[in-house]
């Protein structure tokens, strides 16, 4: 692990407290789950049968019911506070082995990875594109938020990852998701315009440093050159499909400005405005406006950088971009 933290030394000037950062990177990540409100009825019936609380007024997700269930089995659930129905879970090492997971009552998703869909703020009736969607946690958050009306188009280029996406959508009972398998850089333009687009771009995954080796992911913690071009192409394509006045959330789980602010600076034109992200309950550091001697768009300061030590999470960088309405 120490070696991986060393790979991140290039960001030492961007981080307010290097020691806190380095020590956060050494700790394992807490497990986080969110409750699926579409399965609330199922959850209530299970709780009735087990003699557990089955109604919780003012709790639209049913999270309180799920927490009561898990606590009754001896697991510790701590309310995340900023995301309705989401909990940090301790003691449950294999959440996939529970009936609740099989029935789609909850989904396991890292805390920081809940952020982009919240920043996107999906509204009922909208047509929303998730360009690099698999395995589908963020798609599911959006689909649940607009379950009363609206459509999510969830795209991913890799067929094996699309299978995971489809499997998650079926388990969670998401009916308003259409899945496509395009290369995002060539996504057909006539599919748009979309009211909002989430581009959770493929990246070097430096922010996954806390997942450690052997987590099934590529060894995290090393900045890769050569991702920026793909990210810029994806962002350019997304921009063409975004309706005037629409929102685009660009996110990566990597710290490198080359994959975040510099991609935004390179790809966005005068019709784009990076907006401040208002976020209650989590602390973010501002974006980078100068890197390796190059000055970037001033509105890059509005990019939100979630360093692991700020909220005891993984790492994520998120930007909310608004497209100017047509004159």
């Amino acid at each position: 692990m120490a070696l991986e933290t060393d790979n991140l030394r290039r960001y030492v000037d961007l981080i307010d407290d290097w020691d806190a950062f380095a020590s956060a990177c050494e700790r394992p990540l807490p497990m986080v789950i969110w409750t699926n409100p579409l399965r609330r009825g199922v959850l209530e019936r299970l709780n009735v049968a087990d003699g557990l609380p089955c109604s919780a007024p003012g709790d639209p997700t049913g999270g309180g019911l799920l927490a009561a269930r898990l606590r009754a089995r001896g697991y510790e659930c701590e309310d995340l506070g900023w995301y309705p129905g989401a909990y940090k879970l301790e003691g449950l090492s294999k959440p996939g082995r529970t009936l609740e997971h099989l029935l789609g009552i909850f989904h396991v998703q890292e805390e920081v990875s809940l952020i982009p869909s919240v920043v996107l703020a999906p509204r009922s009736g909208e047509l929303i594109l998730d360009m690099c969607a698999a395995p589908g946690g963020k798609t599911a958050q959006i689909a649940v938020a607009i379950a009363s009306g609206g459509t999510v188009v969830a795209n991913d280029v890799r067929i094996d990852r699309l299978r995971a996406l489809r499997s998650n959508c079926e388990r969670l009972g998401l009916l308003n998701v259409a899945m496509t398998g395009h290369d995002g850089t060539k996504f057909p333009l006539d599919a748009g315009p979309f009211d909002a687009i989430l581009l959770d771009a493929p990246c070097s995954c430096e922010g996954n440093v806390r997942r450690g080796p052997g987590s099934g992911h590529r060894r995290p913690g090393a900045f890769l050159t050569g991702r920026s071009g793909l990210q810029a192409t994806l962002l350019g394509r997304a921009w063409k499909m975004l309706a005037p006045g629409g929102r685009l959330v660009y996110a990566t789980c990597t710290f490198a400005p080359e994959e975040n602010e510099m991609v935004l600076d390179y790809s966005l034109g005068d019709d784009a405005r990076i907006e401040p992200i208002r976020f209650d309950g989590l602390t973010a550091a501002p974006g980078v406006t100068e890197w390796l001697g190059q000055a970037l768009r001033p509105d890059c300061a509005h990019v939100a950088r979630f360093w692991p030590h700020l909220n005891d999470t993984g790492g994520f960088v998120v930007a909310l971009v608004r497209k100017e309405a047509a004159p």
Partner: protein
């Protein structure tokens, strides 16, 4: 993954069959769209895809039914979503049985098991604690077969 086209169809026949098969009080598919891929696979969803012409549409919503053979086969995902209130074609499992069922194993019904009386042949909703957990197959022999897909089976369930 996309060799066979995915077409919107009139699904009233399938909605009626489903409601009849599980004797449901209400049509669980009200307001939804039906799709078919190939001769046998039926899907249901609410996605507004009319404006997406030209998009290579891989999947919309949930795969619910395989038709075309003697018995139409619902998927386990569809049973969980749309057969919770079943009053027919449903087999109630106890705790030990649901553990076996979710591991993909058969559940034996003894000759004098009262549940045998009400079970039609074909595919059933398996239910535990009043909650539909997946699709089962029954042909009047000694056991109800679990049709939980391989990638969903739970070998050591934490119940």
């Amino acid at each position: 993954m996309n060799r066979v086209p995915f077409l919107e169809i009139d699904g009233s026949l399938y909605a009626e069959w489903w409601r009849d098969r599980f004797d449901l009080e209400r049509d669980p598919f009200a307001g939804m769209r039906f799709y078919q891929r190939g001769r046998a696979k039926i899907w249901v969803g609410t996605a507004e895809v009319a404006g997406l012409t030209g998009t290579r549409m891989d999947v919309v919503g949930i795969h619910i039914l395989r038709i075309g053979r003697r018995f139409w086969k619902p998927t386990s995902a569809a049973i969980v979503a749309f057969a919770g209130g079943a009053r027919a074609s449903v087999v109630e499992l106890d705790r030990d049985e649901v553990v076996r069922f979710l591991a993909g194993q058969d559940v034996c019904l003894a000759e004098d098991d009262p549940r045998r009386a009400n079970l039609p042949r074909g595919f059933l909703a398996a239910r535990y604690h009043g909650v539909a957990v997946g699709c089962a197959e029954w042909h009047g022999r000694e056991a109800v077969r679990s049709l939980i897909p391989k990638n969903r089976r739970i070998m050591e369930i934490d119940l």
